[in-house]
C-alpha cells in the first residue's frame, strides 16, 4: 500500500482524538486530521475553530483555512473568538491541536522568532527569522486539557531549547506548568513525519514512542537536535488503512496538505 509520510502523519494524528472529545482545531494540518477523525472513529467529536465556529459534522469540502465558506455551512454554532477561548479557559476543551515550526525537548513551541527576539525598536542583530506568530496556538497550548502537535521531523526544527517560547509546553520540565500558573494541560503527543513522540509523566521530557514503518530509530535520532530518549517498549506506528487513505485523498484531492 502506497502512502506519503504526510498521509501517515495525518492518520496517526487523527487517531489521537477520542470519540466525543471537544477539540480546538488549529490552522493548516490539524484541519485535515480533525476531518479524518470525524469521518472514522470519532464521528461525535466537536471542533472549535478560532474564528468562532463550532462544528460537530465535518465540512463538505477541503479547507485551506478555517474561515473558508464550507466550514460555516452546517456548523453547530457561529459565535465569537472570545466565546470559544473563554470556554477553553474554563476547561471545556479536551484536546488542542496545533502545528509547530520549532519544538524543544519539553514540548515548547516556537512560531515567532528563530535566532533570538530583537530588542523593541532596534534593528535585529545577526540572523533572525521572523515566523508568523502565535495565532491561537499559545492559548490552545496554555488552556486545553491536552495538546497534540503535528509537524515535520527535521533536525533544525527539533532543538534542545527553542529560541522563543510562543506556545508553552512543559517549560523547563517537571512541575513548571503549575509553577507559572497554568491551570492544566501540556503536550500529550507530537506526531511527525518520522514517528510519534510522547512525554515522560514525571520529567516531562519528550521520548520516542513509535517509529513509522520503514523509519529506523537511528534516522529519527539523527533528525533530533538533542539526545532523544527512546521508549523501552518502542512500537511501530500502525500504517494507514485503505479507508483512511481514501478519506484523506477524497478530502484533499490535489494533495495540497499531504503531497510529498
Amino acid at each position: 500500500m502506497d502512502y506519503t509520510l504526510s498521509e501517515l502523519m495525518v492518520t496517526a494524528a487523527a487517531r489521537e482524538i477520542k470519540e466525543g472529545e471537544v477539540v480546538f482545531v488549529g490552522t493548516r494540518l490539524p484541519l485535515l486530521a480533525f476531518a479524518l477523525a470525524k469521518k472514522t472513529h470519532a464521528p461525535h467529536a466537536v471542533g472549535f475553530f478560532e474564528s468562532g465556529i463550532i462544528r460537530d459534522t465535518p465540512a463538505q469540502e477541503v479547507l485551506y483555512t478555517m474561515g473558508d465558506a464550507p466550514n460555516i455551512l452546517g456548523a453547530l454554532q457561529c459565535c465569537s473568538t472570545l466565546s470559544l477561548m473563554g470556554m477553553m479557559q474554563k476547561g471545556l476543551v479536551d484536546v488542542g491541536f496545533i502545528g509547530g515550526a520549532e519544538i524543544d525537548k519539553y514540548g515548547n513551541l516556537n512560531t515567532s522568532y528563530i535566532g533570538g527576539r530583537p530588542q523593541a525598536g532596534a534593528a535585529p542583530r545577526g540572523a533572525l527569522t521572523r515566523l508568523p506568530g502565535s495565532g491561537g496556538a499559545c492559548d490552545i497550548a496554555a488552556l486545553s486539557h491536552r495538546l497534540l502537535i503535528i509537524m515535520s521531523h527535521e533536525k533544525r526544527r527539533f532543538k534542545e531549547k527553542v529560541d522563543y517560547i510562543t506556545s508553552p509546553g512543559y517549560g523547563a520540565g517537571g512541575t513548571w506548568r503549575e509553577e507559572v500558573g497554568l491551570p492544566r494541560g501540556g503536550p500529550s503527543a507530537v506526531i511527525t513525519t518520522k514517528g510519534i513522540l510522547r512525554f515522560d509523566p514525571l520529567t516531562k521530557e519528550m521520548y520516542l514512542a513509535s517509529n513509522h514503518p520503514g523509519l529506523p530509530v537511528e534516522e529519527i535520532l539523527a533528525s533530533t537536535g538533542w539526545n532523544l530518549k527512546v521508549a523501552s517498549d518502542l512500537k511501530e506506528t500502525p500504517p494507514p488503512t485503505q479507508e483512511e487513505l481514501n478519506i484523506i485523498r477524497a478530502y484533499d484531492p490535489e494533495g495540497f496538505w499531504t503531497g510529498e
Binding site: T129, A142, T166
Partner: protein
Amino acid sequence: MNKKVLSLQEAIARFVHEGMSLVMGTALEALIPFSAGHEIIRQGRRHLTLIGPISDLLFDQLIGAGCIRKVAAAWIGNVMMGSGYNFRRAVETGVPHPLEVEDHSNFTIALALHAAALGVPYLPTKTALGSDLSVNHPGMKQIHCPFTEEKLLAVRAVQPDVAIVQVQRCDPYGNAHLWGNIGISVDAVRASKSVILVTEEIVSPEVIRSDPNRTLIPGFLVSAVVEEPWGAHPSPVQGYYNRDHRFYQDYHEETKTLEGFQKWLDRWVYGVETREAYLQRLGRDRLQDLKIQKGALSAPANFGY
C-alpha cells in the same frame, strides 16, 4: 439618525489619518477589508499601527507598502501558504523601514479589545502564562487574583482609533447584519473611536430591523458606510462569494522578492483606482467561479407579538 454613506475614497480620507491605529481583519480569514486596505495604500497613509488577530495577507500588504510603523497582532502571514514575505523583510532587515511588533495571541488581542469595549483598563486571563509573549510586553502584566491569590495575566485594554469592518449588509445608518465568521468584530467595533463599515450591499432599514439578533453592529457606533461589492476579495464572504485560493498562492510566489511585491502592488493596488477596476482586472469568469454555488437560507425567526 443620519445617513453615513460615503465613497471608500471619502471614508478613508476623512477617518484614517497619519499615525492612527487601525483594527482590521476582525473575522480572521474571512471578510477581510482588502479594498479599504488598498485605498489606504493609494492615499499614501504612513506611520499607522495595525491591530488584529490572525491577519491573512492584508497586514503583509500594508507593511510592504510602507504604511505601517507598528503591528499588534496574533499572526501575520499567508495562512494557506505560510510566511508573509513583507512582514519578514520588515522585521528581519528593516525593509521598507523597521517595524515595531507587539506580539499577541488570538485570546490576548480579543481580551484587549473586550476590555476597551467594556470600559475597563484590563481583563484577567490564564492564557500566555509561561509564554515569552507575555514577557516584557507593554500590554501584559503578571498579577495575583485579589480574592484567590492565584497567578493571572492582566491584559491591557486597547482602544483603536479606527475599526474597518466588512459586513454582508447594512442600512444607510450603519446598522449591520454580519453572519458566518464573527471573530473579534463585535468588540473591535465597540472598542474603537470611529468605525468604517464596508458592506457588500446597502439594504433598507426594514430588512435590518426584521432581525435585531443578527444586527451585530448598531449604527450609532458607526461613522461611515461604504457600499463596495467584492470588497473582501480574495477572502470569502458567507452568502456572497468564496475564497479565491489561487490569489493567495500567486501572492506567495510573486511577493517572495521585494521587486516581485512592487510589481504586485503596481498591478493590484496602484494600477487600479477603484475596486471596480480591480474586479475588471480579475475578469468576469474568475468572479463567476467564486460566486456562491448554492443558496442556503436560514429558517425565518418570528419576532411578532
